[in-house]
Structure formats: structure tokens, C-alpha cells
Symmetry: C2
Amino acid sequence: MNIKEKIANKALPIEKALIKYLKIREPTKLYEAMAHIPLAGGKRLRPVMALLTCEMVGGESKKAVPFATSLEVIHNFTLVHDDVMDDDDLRHGVPACHTIYGLPTAILAGDSLFSYAFEMITDCEINDNIKSDLVKHIAYTVRRIAEGQQMDINFEEEETVNTDEYLEMIRLKTSILFGSAAYGGVLIGGGNKKQANELRQMAISVGLGFQIWDDYLDAMAPAEILGKPSGSDIRQGKRTLLVIDALNRASENERKELINILDNSDNSDDEIKRAVEIMETSGALKHCHKQAMGYLDGAKETLEKYPMNKARNTLEELLKYMVTRGH
Amino acid sequence: MNIKEKIANKALPIEKALIKYLKIREPTKLYEAMAHIPLAGGKRLRPVMALLTCEMVGGESKKAVPFATSLEVIHNFTLVHDDVMDDDDLRHGVPACHTIYGLPTAILAGDSLFSYAFEMITDCEINDNIKSDLVKHIAYTVRRIAEGQQMDINFEEEETVNTDEYLEMIRLKTSILFGSAAYGGVLIGGGNKKQANELRQMAISVGLGFQIWDDYLDAMAPAEILGKPSGSDIRQGKRTLLVIDALNRASENERKELINILDNSDNSDDEIKRAVEIMETSGALKHCHKQAMGYLDGAKETLEKYPMNKARNTLEELLKYMVTRGH
């Protein structure tokens, strides 16, 4: 089995739990809207990371399934609301929730998914003190995710964004929930708080690499792998790490050329190619790639402190997949 | 002290907690948006109900403050999102959150308030098993509130709504959170689960009366009391219990006349007066008033099972205020 198959296999109890929780009830429009994006697919990386960290520290991952499912539901709730905020019509190649169900029901569907996540956490057969810890942790984390999304919104109005600000934004918006996967997996699996925090930091680092790699793929990977046209971030003029880094490294002329392409809302394919070329010649692509790999190396060092077992092995493959997929 | 003063007095620790939790941090736009509606005022009926039920069963209401604050924050999160969904520009006489901060930040502010509510629940100094119970209960309740809001959205597209459907909608959208106030107050105060459920049902009933009374006031009370023009529900063509009941009771001609006024989006003051007249002559106003009082009578019977103390006395006054205020 390759790692993609291993992830899909590990995710089976999550798929089952999602189907069970998200069954259609009255009022059907709300429950259909809630189920739409979560059941449209997804790699389920966050829940799988929770199950693997749970097993790695010696726990039974069965006990972590409702918590792991809550992570996927939270991830999907943020996608549903983000699509409303950004007015994006598509998500993972299917119509966004609000495209089908309208804005009011999409907002409600997000809210309900989020509340459902807390019902799931309390469905775990674990000690009440761990439950309380996880509830507080997840609630805090979602508030931080919202901070990251607000930073992203603010960036759109700013002329320049520096690397540190960008990394802090993706740390909150994307990586921190990977951290929660490891944190909860470890605690449910019987690990101690120190281990939970250590593996949380490891997962947050690789989550940063994951997002940097996502930006990289958006510029470099063919449309078949992306499931959307290549270079869409450039078309939208998004300030990704790749762009920020290229703007820092490029010559004055190339910098101006890249800004022109980013600020143009109707780019030709040749212009997209030219933007990628500037990213390449400036050294930005190479640097981002290296940075993503650096996060992986740090994670491997952390994992070496834990006893070697099947779960640790698969977790290492998962982390590697996060920062090398589609390459 | 009259009951309004007693409520305001009892709400002081809640105001203090709201100010503490909602202090402005980075990114400031998000935290300003979060604080805007909760700190714009409000009667704080839900938290005060939680504190009073806690004391009535013999508990220290100090322990219930973070939970009680979470109820107010949840109530406000639903207001912020409802205003986005209904595209309402004003709330409690101040600009709605999205009017000032824009749609994306208003959605985020609602999400963050909601997650914050769970942080507050876990801040309570109570046993972890009660914490878990409250988290599950509140998460379930917010999912039901969303169901109620979806029913309300659905009603706008329906020709007729019957009384039972309307009552089920307001039970979910409005009353159920009053139920949670009593439920949590009792459990934190040391009451048992049976008492918590009994007082929850009582609070839900009075919550129904509260909403019916709100509809009644909207038609009958002068603008000074409402803080908005009288008859705004009629202007908007809303199917309140009063309207549904009047349509059921009125003569064929008056029914047609009332529907015309409701369907007209630009009513004169005389037309509003005429609509209220039809509600009056049909007996709908009287019936709604009676129904709200009936819920109060039921609640009083429940309260009589509990030992008489200062908190029970104030709670009884609070419940009465909920269904008679502004009269």
C-alpha cells in the first residue's frame, strides 16, 4: 500500500462516522447543506493524524474516532464559511455550500457543523477531565483560526505583507488544527500533556510546510493533480509565501513585472507561465521547497523520541506526504 | 427595587465578565466586531436566569458566572449571524455588526464568539462531569437553534404557516436557550438532573410566552418602549403567532385585508393601525396575551415545588417580567 492508500484505509472509520452524524433530518435543507461539503470527499488528513498519534503513544484509535471526526467537521465548517466570505463558487471541484443552498443556510450549516463538533468530542469514551481539556483546547483553537482568517482578510487591503506576517497567518488559519489533531490523539491515547504539546508543535510545523507546499503546487502542478486550473493563486493576485519571497528576491524589473501580473485580474496563460518563471529564476520556488522540507526534518527528529511502531512509521509517511504530495 | 433594577443588579458580574473576555486584541478588527453587539447592552435575561436557578437550588451563583456569560455570548453570536442572514442593518438601535465591519468579519466574529462560549463553560470551577454535560447540552442546543432559524427561513417561502409549526420554530429559535440557562444553573448549583430537566422545561415554556409577548409588543407598544417603530413585523409581512391567529379567526373580508397589508412592502401608518385593529377585533391579541399568561401560570406551579427563598422569588418576578414587560 502506498501512503495515499494507507491514509484512505485509516480514514474508513471517519467516513463511517461522518455518514452517521450527518444523516439527513428535518429541516432537510439545513442537514443537506451541512452534509454537502464534508461528504463531497477530502483526504481526512487531520483525523488520520489524530488516530495515528493516538496509536503511536500506545492508545486504541477506536476511542479517538469521535474526536478525530470533530476535527474534520471543524475543518469543513471553516471551508463553508470561508467560501461565503470569499464568495468562492467552487470547493474541491463541487459547488460551494452557499452556491447550492444560499447564503443564510450556508452560514447556518457552518454554525451547526461547528456545534456538532463539540457533541462529537463529548461522545468520546474518555475521562471527563480529558474531555474538558479537549473542549477548551478546540474552542481556543477555532478562535485562533478565526484570527488567522481575519489576518488573511486584512492582507487583501495591504500593499505589502512580510514573510513573518504571512507565516503567522497560515500558522493560525491552517496549521494550528493539525496541532490539535496531534494534541488530542496523544491525550486520548494515554500520552501525557508534555508529549501532547510536543507533538502538537511538531504537527503545527508540518502544517506550515503543508500550506507552503500547497502554494507551491498551485503554481507548479498540472491541472489534473490540482483539480483546478494551475496558477489560480497568481490569477487571483494572492500574496502567498512564494509570491512574497519572489518579490523580495527578484530584480527591480522582474518585481514590477510580477506585480503587474498579480494586479491584473484577467491573465493569459503565458502571463501565468511568466510569473512562475520569475518565481523560479528568483530562487523563490527553491527556497519554499527547502523550507517545507526543513519543517519535515524537524518533525522527524521529534518522532525519533518515540518508540518505533507501525503507527509512528505511517505517521512519518503521512507527514512526508503532506509536504511532498503531487511532486 | 423593581424587577428591571433587580435584573440589572444581578447582571453586574455578567457585564464584568463580558468586558474581561471581550477585551480588544490583535487582530483588532475581529475583536472589535466580536465586542460590538454584546457590549451594546441587552437585558441579560438568560444569564440572570442561570444565576437565579443556581441560587434557588442552594448553589453559589459566583460559580455559574462563566457559564451564564457563555449563554449571553451564544445569544449574541446568533444575533450577529441572523442579522447577516436577514440583511438587517440595525440591532438594538445600533448598527448591526456587518453594517460596520462588513460581511466576512461579521461571520468570523459570530464564529469566534461561539467558540469563546465553550472556553467560558470550561472556565467554570465545577466538576468535569458537569462540564462535559453542559458542553454536550449547549452544543446540541445551538444545533437546535440553527434548526429553528432554518424553519424561519423556510416559512418566508411558504404561503401559510400553522400555529404548531410557528410554536415549534420559536421553541427552537428563542425558547430553548432559556431552557439551557435553567438547566445549567441547576446543575452548577448542585441540583440533580431531574430538577435540571424540569426547570429547563419550565424556562422553555416561559421562553415561548416571551416570544409571543415580543410579537404582541411589536404590534401594540409605542415606539419609545420598543426602540424601533411600532408595527415593524406587520411592515415586514412577518407571520408571527399574532398574524397566524388573526388570519385563522378573522372574517373572510378582514383576512383578505390583512394579507394585503402584510404583502404590501410600503405600508402607511393608517394601514398598520388597521392591521392591529383586525388583530384586536378577531380576538387574536386577546388570545396571544392569554397564551403567554398560561405559560407563566404553568411555570409558577413548577416553582412551588422548590423551597421558598430570595432567588425563587426574584426568578418568579423575572418570569413574570418576560411575559408582561412594557405593558
